[in-house]
Symmetry: C2
Subunit: 244 residues, 2 copies
Amino acid sequence: MPDYHDPRQNRLLAALPADEYARLAPQLELIPLALGDVLYESGIPMHHVYFPTDSIVSLLYVMEDGASAEIAMVGNEGVVGISLFMGGETTPSRAVVQCAGHAYRLTSQVLKDEFDRVGGRRSGALHNLLLRYTQALLTQMAQTAVCNRHHSLDQQLCRWLLLSLDRLSANELVMTQELIANMLGVRREGVTEAAGNLQRAGVIEYRRGHITVLDRPGLEARTCECYAVVKREFDRLLPEENAL
Amino acid sequence: MPDYHDPRQNRLLAALPADEYARLAPQLELIPLALGDVLYESGIPMHHVYFPTDSIVSLLYVMEDGASAEIAMVGNEGVVGISLFMGGETTPSRAVVQCAGHAYRLTSQVLKDEFDRVGGRRSGALHNLLLRYTQALLTQMAQTAVCNRHHSLDQQLCRWLLLSLDRLSANELVMTQELIANMLGVRREGVTEAAGNLQRAGVIEYRRGHITVLDRPGLEARTCECYAVVKREFDRLLPEENAL
DNA sequence: CGCGATAGGTGCGACAGCGAACAGACGCGG
DNA sequence: CCGCGTCTGTTCGCTGTCGCACCTATCGCG
């Protein structure tokens, strides 16, 4: 994790053409995100969209009885607050910081103006980029649903670790088993056991809230197809080098 | 189910202002949909979007081993083929006709032209409507994920029946338990048992592929919160009477 | 009107994940 | 460097769903 900060560490912002980026850059506000911060709450209108750089934000649904489940996660490949440009203003879920770090944010008004802006050409790059990202997010949610239905906790843990790693470009996560259990919507003991299996197999190592991945291919071999499907779709929809 | 056909039986089309509807109407093609028809296949570019009127289409993810799970369902409140306007062209899922009926379709090009059309501002009604619908669909997927994680088969069956009924404006479904099991991603026997419970309680009645709902409030009482969350979100995002 | 295919019903062993309760162990703050 | 709070490990009985095997009932078709 670099010490300096640049909005272009976020892949969506990085993919904007120079003119659009130039219009937005002065409006981007760097915000530190602490573990557990809530960026928005179910049903409450949000005022900003957040472009994470070195943080991860989870979209979490919290049920009436307090149980929870992660619906999707957002890191430097995406943006938190799609309902602002999709037109709904709110969602029935909560956005919680899962890995501390930073994000750049825009006010809702600035985002909407740029989203709806009609340049000389018909489609603004931001407009297209955000819609494509939304489709990728959709795939992530769909796959979460499928995975919840069909795959074992062990597989799901692997998927979750891999998705997190991809979004941090790191091989260590600061994350207790309790937190992971909340995200996956399972018991903490279940995570202990699944993580124990991985540890015994030499795939990961952890000590009190620090998980280090030793053998990434090992993780990939143990996870279900869901991880690959999501990754492939993100890569397809959001090429590394866009209209730069 | 009426004998005549009118594109405005689809709520999205019905919500379009007169001028936009007038542009599209001549391009709408009425298509009969038979049970099991596949509107599009995972990863294959689609050429039309479908606006169901008296049919239901399921978005299904089929796994490598053949197991499947429904991700969302689309009826007269929506449209099949959002990836056309979202920009991805394909999705990793399959769209299958779950209840036979009809849909109007547009070619991908006509849809995109209207979607991107800029009348002074970008905000064509179709553009906004489709994005709001997409957000509603997103909620449906998210809730499917949550429901798969936390709720019992009995509850899920109730949710599924209610969602289907809402999309048909009927109280009878033509649907075998085997099919339902495929949608929910569970065993057929599980559905038999859950349906048996409902039948014994006098909530539904069925005979060989025909399910009749006798006591809708009873269903609502037995389902989990997921149904209400999805319904509320659809009602909020897609008001009955729009900019007509 | 009767046959065959298809839909629905049942029983049983296996097992993953749950809920609760508790024991160790690490590491931060004082 | 000590102690306590937090995080992790383990146990046990329980329940819901699975996977399989097999049977029965119904409907539609010839």
